[in-house]
């Protein structure tokens, strides 16, 4: 702590150099945080979108979940199994499957028990108005904001064969892919899209004492010999498999993010080696004043770490701001991934910046601490 004034003086001694170093660190951390926010958004979407303990029944072999087609009657057969607590049926209508952005998705749901499976933040009055009217819809906050929709507005989606509905409520489901969806009554959507009796997915809530794996096998065995065999899996695994197409991009981006942190090692290392060269006289004086090697090393390392911490915090905060302001999202197989920067990610990015600063400055700092007084003074005019 006693060395703090010395450290601060070192940083502000050369404002241009300090500014450029901070800016370099901030850019690298901005990139790292931005890239990792995509991966964090994916984990968050998986964690929130997948109902705890919920099983998903989809058409066997279907690679694109939203294209799964099962008879609605499968739901009745599943509901009769002793280990099943509840079943709800959904029909997804989308214009594309592997499309990356700006996807319009309509989900037909059974309003009666859908909220037992999904945590929707909406007033009971709005939900009741939606439940009581066949042509009504509740829309996710993200979709409503994107298109400027209001409650009471009548909407026709030209992209989806002219499906029409009246908005009776806007719901929030933070982090859940549903915020990008429009929810309408299942039967209404089946009729509007000429798919009577067809559903996309069945969501199954097992009884508390039921073993999910055994129940999944029991459900699939029910339909194995039918014209529409099913594949039942825990919802988390189901969504993870559906969005697996994007994992290659996410993994690659993560490596680029780590590579961008390398800029901090080089930038801070470069800056510190220049700073030490300019301060050979000061280092000599510190040694004459009785500073030991370890103390000189600590002063220089502390200066580098402080620069990296300030630049890192700035870059991470800017990335959090940019991510929160941008409307960027990636939709994969009907699930939307929105980049997410948490406080934890800001702290991680800042700490990694400090660590990279420490690594980058270690060699120049060690060389400076080993300078002998006669040698250091010889270097000085």
């Amino acid at each position: 702590m006693k060395l703090l004034p010395l450290v601060l003086r070192g940083i502000i001694r050369n404002p241009i150099r300090a500014g450029l170093t901070l800016a370099g660190v901030a850019v690298a951390v901005f990139l790292f945080t931005g890239v990792i926010s995509l991966e964090r958004g994916m984990s968050r979407m998986l964690g929130i979108s997948a109902g705890e303990n919920v099983l998903v029944v989809a058409e066997k072999y279907q690679g694109c979940p939203v294209q799964s087609k099962l008879p609605a009657a499968h739901g009745d057969a599943i509901a009769e199994l002793p280990a099943v607590a509840a079943v709800t049926r959904t029909l997804f209508v989308m214009s594309a499957c592997s499309r990356a952005t700006d996807l319009v998705a309509v989900h037909g749901i059974e309003p009666g028990n859908y909220r037992d499976f999904r945590d929707l933040r909406i007033s009971d009055a709005e939900y009741a108005a939606f439940s009581g009217e066949k042509g009504a819809a509740i829309v996710g906050a993200v979709v409503a904001q994107r298109y400027g929709w209001q409650v009471g507005q009548a909407v026709t989606l030209q992209e989806l064969g002219g499906i029409s509905f009246t908005i009776r409520g806007i719901f929030e489901a933070p982090g859940n892919s549903l915020e990008n969806a429009i929810l309408v009554d299942l039967e209404y959507l089946q009729l509007a899209t000429s798919q009577p009796g067809v559903v996309t997915l069945l969501l199954v809530q097992p009884k508390e004492d039921a073993e999910a794996g055994a129940l999944a096998a029991e459900i699939d065995a029910l339909f194995d010999a039918s014209r529409a065999p099913s594949k039942t899996s825990p919802e988390h695994a189901f969504i993870a498999s559906a969005v697996s197409g994007i994992t290659g991009l996410v993994d690659f981006s993560r490596w680029l993010g780590f590579a961008s942190l390398g800029l901090i090692v080089v930038g801070v290392g470069n800056s510190m080696s220049m700073s030490i060269r300019d301060r050979t006289r000061e280092i000599a004086l510190l040694k004459i004043a009785g500073f030991r090697r370890a103390q000189v090393l600590r002063v220089i390392l502390a200066e580098a770490v402080a620069s990296a911490l300030i630049g890192g915090l700035l870059g991470a905060w800017l990335a959090a701001w940019a991510v929160s302001r941008s409307a960027f999202s990636i939709s994969v197989e009907g699930y939307t991934i929105v980049p997410h920067v948490s406080i934890e990610l800001i702290l991680l990015s800042t700490l990694l910046a400090a660590l990279m600063g420490l690594v980058g400055s270690y060699l120049p700092a060690r060389a400076a601490s080993r300078l002998t007084v006669p040698h250091a003074l010889r270097e000085v005019d």
Partner: protein, 367 residues
């Protein structure tokens, strides 16, 4: 040491920027180049992508005799196709991953002429398939698992690989191709996904599209195949924008490092500047001297980045609609070197301006 660190910073910035640009270019160009300028794609009305399209077999029968369709050895170049995504596992494994399957007739090789049989033979019996060069990447498995003679499991059947197709840089490279009827039976589908027709010439293509759009006996949508893939690629434009912004920021990071180095050089050599000014050198001579000094480390960094980037050439990466291969070609390498030059130049501007503004009196004071 300082020059090495500057070279390292520039190299790192250039390498990341190059890989990001290769990613954006590979994904978008791969999709765009999948369409042939003379092909007409017919899908069902309202289907934005072929996987959402289903066409009655009768549509094919009605369209295949159109006079505008090009002929090859007396056969019309009209290819009915089935396209779907499925969950596939290797012959020995049980873990399934998403695969893209296209059911075709032999005419598909004439219509999609960028696709060629690189190895093996065409399917001649039920249960035989061809795999694209990037199928292993798409499935996230070892390339040896999709060699000729191996098998894949999907749609409840075991499929034997009898050939390997190649269509570098297009979406077909990550697809599994099989016999049209065989795959329709296995996947219990009664309708085609799309029909691809090769027009005899551009005028015939326009006529064909007009005719199909106005016919009352065909309820389908027809468009230029190249426009379909261009529109499909456009869906990924936000990803491209994000990647370009990030590449630009990486370059900016490199500029800051270069600028820092040159500032130190200018400030540390005020005395030298004084000597030069006194001996008659002009301001711009001095600026030029520093600039020449800034270029070699940056170019060295750029050259190292290019060498490392070459290591990524041909590497496959899984993406939502298939897979793509990094293509590190001469234009990209040239661009990498150009970026390193730009980093050096942009990083020099401010320090050089400062160097030029040092007055002779100030400089002499340091003597």
């Amino acid at each position: 040491m300082r020059a090495l660190l500057t070279a390292g910073g520039t190299g790192l910035a250039v390498l990341v920027a190059m890989l990001m640009l290769a990613l954006a270019r590979g994904v978008l160009d791969g999709i765009r180049e999948s369409g042939h300028p003379l092909n007409v794609l017919v899908t069902s009305k309202g289907a934005e992508t072929i996987e959402f399209s289903s066409l009655d077999r009768g549509v094919y029968e009605k369209l295949r005799h159109s006079p505008e369709i090009a002929q090859e050895k007396g056969n019309a170049l009209a290819s009915p196709e089935l396209y779907f995504t499925t969950m596939a596992a290797t012959g020995r494994g049980n873990e399934t991953t998403q695969a893209i399957v296209r059911g075709v007739l032999p005419v598909a090789f004439e219509v999609h002429d960028m696709v060629r049989l690189a190895e093996g033979r065409l399917p001649s019996a039920p249960g035989e398939i061809l795999v694209g060069g990037l199928v292993a990447t798409k499935l996230g498995i070892n390339a040896t698992a999709v060699k000729i003679g191996e098998s894949l499991k999907f749609e409840g059947n075991v499929w034997r690989i009898v050939g390997r197709i190649e269509a570098p840089g297009t979406v077909f490279d990550s697809e599994i191709w099989g016999g049209l009827d065989d795959l329709m039976t296995a996947s219990r589908r009664a309708e085609y996904s799309s029909i691809v027709l090769r027009a005899a010439d551009p005028a015939a293509m326009e006529e064909m599209i007009f005719d199909f759009e106005t016919r009352r006996d065909v309820l389908a949508e027809s468009r230029e195949e190249s426009l379909y893939y261009a529109a499909y690629a456009e869906n990924f434009a936000p990803i491209r924008s994000m990647v370009i912004v990030m590449a630009a920021m990486m370059v900016l990071g490199g500029v800051f490092i270069g600028m820092n180095t040159l500032f130190a050089a200018v400030v540390g050599r005020t005395r030298e500047i004084g000597v030069l000014r006194v001996t008659g050198y002009r301001r711009w001579h001095i600026a030029l001297g520093f600039l020449v000094e800034a270029l070699p480390p940056a170019l060295l960094g750029g050259a190292i980045a290019c060498l490392i980037a070459l290591g990524f050439n041909g590497l496959g990466l899984r993406i939502p609609m298939g897979a793509f291969r990094f293509q590190i070609d001469f234009p990209l390498l040239g661009f990498g070197l150009f970026l390193s030059l730009m980093i050096a130049l942009l990083g020099s501007l401010w320090p050089l301006w400062r160097a030029m503004r040092i007055s002779t009196i100030d400089a002499i004071r340091h003597l």
